[in-house]
């Protein structure tokens, strides 16, 4: 089959088979993060500013788990996607923050 590869001899990134444990742990962790977020809103009692902050923290953790485990960002050989995503965040962040700052403040 190798000779049929249209991409010639380019290096292939093969994921090492790892046990399901890590994925199960990551999955449970994502669920817990979601539950905390829902619970914080459902409980109501706490003040709004705290709830918003908590939701943001949960959201960031959730993104990290998703990227790291499900998008394989933590694995080796994913440097290019990481560089490109970081670059994209940086460029978009700069543009949005600077444009909004000079338009409305």
């Amino acid at each position: 089959m190798t000779s049929h590869d249209s991409n010639g001899g380019a290096v292939k990134h093969r994921h090492r088979q790892e046990g399901p444990q890590k994925h199960i742990v990551a999955f449970i962790f994502s669920i817990i993060l979601t539950l905390i977020a829902f619970a914080a809103v459902a409980a109501g009692g706490v003040n709004t500013a705290f709830t918003v902050l908590l939701l943001l923290v949960m959201a960031v953790l959730q993104v990290l788990v998703q990227l790291g485990y499900w998008m394989h960002m933590k694995d080796k050989g994913h440097m290019i996607p990481i560089v490109f995503m970081a670059g994209g965040f940086f460029v978009a962040g700069t543009a949005i923050i600077a444009a909004l700052y000079w338009m409305w403040w």
Binding site: S3, H4, A10, I80, G88, A98, M103
Partner: protein, 629 residues
């Protein structure tokens, strides 16, 4: 494994409509880009005729606005970008030793969406008036209050569809360059044109989403009555300027970086020397790309952002002169002590260097915010950006076309005619635009459709018009040269310039469908040159001869683009009264839009449901053709 799939092979027109071969798509891009370049050029000549003398009434003010808008939009989005994509498609897979791009289907889709977006935009001429708010389409001028025809709708929808093609192309080249380089070709062994294509594609990936969002907001404002840019309803017109330039400034580097790559290849080949300072060239390219995203507000110095913003963007802009200067000196040092041959390609490359420096110097002048208050919206700006885009990019494209023409078509362009073309074009260019610096400094505003006599504008404008026609002559000589070249029999030597350094010169001209019979092994920078210096006539193969997997031709990308075209056209006219019950019903209920989208999404569904495994060229077939690797 060796089960040869039978594949339907098309002939004639169907072959071109269904092709997914990067070499044929390159030719399609070249033809379509050349056509739009011609249209944009004719618009430019009409503008210059109108401005040739004071108080001229060759065109009306409204027609003039439409001409300048369409000239800018057509040249940037439909003229030079596709010609850049033509060269990338023709050369990149060959330079990295690949058999095609990573996603041949997407490659075809990118071309057809660009073409139909461009056709839609140009349909505006015969459907009630072209866009007239400038290529920047600043709000509120581009809002329905001030721009009452459908012109700006053609701009938003047409560019949206064409932009889709560019984004697809950019992603495709990123994936191709990252994953499909031949064994041994590390990033720091990639040819310079591959490097600049890689960085340009990254910039497309980051910049085009901004214009996509901007065009969506503007079309919602105009067609669906939203208020993103309407201050009386809480919107902000300055938001459009930010969004446009967050895209627009990277866009001009998207244009110029491939030209830098072309110049690097041409100068190095015709100096018979390796490129001076290769790693600093790579570094400078990346730095220019990075800084290109950090300077968009220098187009908005007079918007009133305040001294802090102006100072920051001013400094950031001036910084770009540093990596650009590195490149200029590297080209000069590459030529220094080389055995220089002034072929047409190298003439264009050598003409590029001083001309681009002049555009760069006025760029630094414009970067100074206080001075920019004087230059803003005058002909000084027009002179500046034509020096960098025409004197930079277009000269680069001509260099690249003359250089790679034999590789693309198997025929050489005539050198004598090429030289005539170079001299008429570059003299015409400087006549046209050099005087515009002074027109600007004398106070002539850009985008005015006429001017009063005896303000010192008369003679300079006439000179500029004469120059523009001389440039037109240069382009016509090029077209004659193309026609003459096709009278020759096909099949020049693979390494036609004899000093080819990179992998594309190691295979026949034009290359066979599969490019490389065996994937080559890359043993250093300038891989083919290295083998030649080691006494080898051809590249060392990195694999045994085997069946070659090829993608199947398909009509789906064409159909998908037709669907988008119909949907766009339908969406634009939703609120119009056609004086015809049936048409009103069809348009106002989004039925036309729905039909168009159904065609597009239906084709996507077909593409997903029916797997296409491609087909194989068997080894005995390779040998039958007697093609050397």
């Amino acid at each position: 494994m060796a089960h040869a799939h039978s594949v339907k092979r098309y002939k004639g027109l169907m072959d071109w409509l269904t092709t997914v071969d990067h070499k044929k798509i390159a030719i399609l891009y070249l033809i379509a880009g050349g056509l739009f370049f011609g249209i944009g050029g004719i618009e430019a000549l009409l503008i210059r005729v109108q401005l040739a003398k004071p108080m001229n009434d060759f065109v009306t003010a409204q027609q003039f606005n439409e001409l300048i808008t369409m000239h800018g939009t057509t040249m940037i989005f439909l003229g030079v970008m596709p010609i850049i994509f033509a060269l990338m498609n023709a050369v990149i897979p060959l330079q990295i030793g690949a058999r095609d791009v990573a996603f041949p289907f997407l490659n075809s889709l990118g071309f057809w969406t660009f073409l139909f977006g461009g056709l839609l935009l140009n349909l505006s001429w015969i459907m009630g008036g072209a866009p007239d708010a400038g290529w920047t389409s600043y709000t509120p001028l581009s809002s329905t209050d001030y721009s009452t025809t459908h012109g700006v709708d053609f701009y938003t929808i047409g560019l949206q569809i064409a932009g889709l093609g560019t984004l697809i192309g950019g992603i495709n080249f990123l994936a191709t360059i990252i994953t499909m380089r031949a064994p041994g070709m590390s990033f720091m062994r990639m040819p310079m044109f591959t490097w600049t294509t890689f960085v340009t594609s990254t910039m497309i990936l980051f910049a085009f989403p901004a214009i996509t969002v901007g065009l969506v907001l503007l079309s919602f404002d105009r067609i669906l009555g939203a208020n993103f840019f309407n201050p009386s309803m809480g919107g902000n017109p300055v938001l459009w300027q930010h969004i446009f330039w967050i895209f627009g400034h990277p866009e001009v580097y998207i244009l110029i970086l491939p030209a830098f790559g072309i110049i690097s290849e041409v100068v190095s080949t015709f100096s018979r020397k390796r490129l001076f300072g290769y790693s600093s060239m790579v570094f400078a390219t990346i730095l220019i790309a990075f800084l290109g995203f950090m300077v968009w507000a220098h187009h908005m110095f007079t918007t009133g952002m305040g001294p802090v913003a102006n100072a920051l963007f001013s400094i950031a802009t001036m910084l770009i002169a540093v990596p650009t200067g590195i490149k200029i000196f590297n080209w000069l040092f590459t030529m220094w002590g080389g055995q220089i041959r002034f072929t047409t390609a190298n003439l264009f490359a050598s003409g590029f260097i001083p001309t681009f420096v002049m555009g760069g110097v006025t760029g630094v002048m414009l970067a100074s915010a206080p001075a920019d208050y004087q230059y803003h919206d005058t002909y000084f700006v027009v002179a500046h950006f034509h020096y960098v885009i025409v004197g930079g990019l277009v000269l680069g494209l001509f260099a690249g076309l003359h250089y790679w023409w034999p590789k693309m078509f198997g025929r050489v362009l005539n050198e004598k005619l090429g030289k005539l073309e170079f001299w008429t074009f570059i003299i015409g260019f400087h006549l046209t635009f050099f005087v515009q610096h002074f027109l600007g400094l004398l106070g002539m505003q850009r985008r005015v459709f006429t001017y009063l006599p005896n303000q010192g504008f008369d003679l300079l404008n006439l000179v500029s018009t004469v120059g523009a026609f001389l440039m037109g002559v240069g382009v016509i000589v090029f077209l004659i040269n193309v026609v003459i070249s096709f009278k020759q029999p096909k099949g020049v030597d693979g390494d036609v310039w004899e000093d080819g350094r990179t992998l594309e010169w190691a295979i026949p001209s034009p290359p066979p469908e599969y490019n490389f019979k065996q994937t080559p092994l890359v043993r250093g920078i300038d891989a083919f040159w290295k083998e030649k210096m080691a006494g080898n006539k051809e590249m060392t193969p990195a694999e045994p001869v085997g069946p070659i997997h090829m993608p199947s031709p398909t009509i789906l990308p064409f159909v998908m683009s037709v669907g988008l075209f119909i949907a766009g056209l339908g969406f634009m006219f939703t609120k119009d009264d056609f004086g015809n019950g049936l048409l009103n019903f069809l348009f106002s209920n989004y039925i036309i839009t729905g039909i168009g989208l159904a065609i597009t999404f239906g084709s996507m569904l077909l593409r997903s449901l029916f797997d296409d495994h491609g087909w194989h060229i068997e080894p005995d077939e390779l040998n039958d053709k007697g093609v050397k690797a």
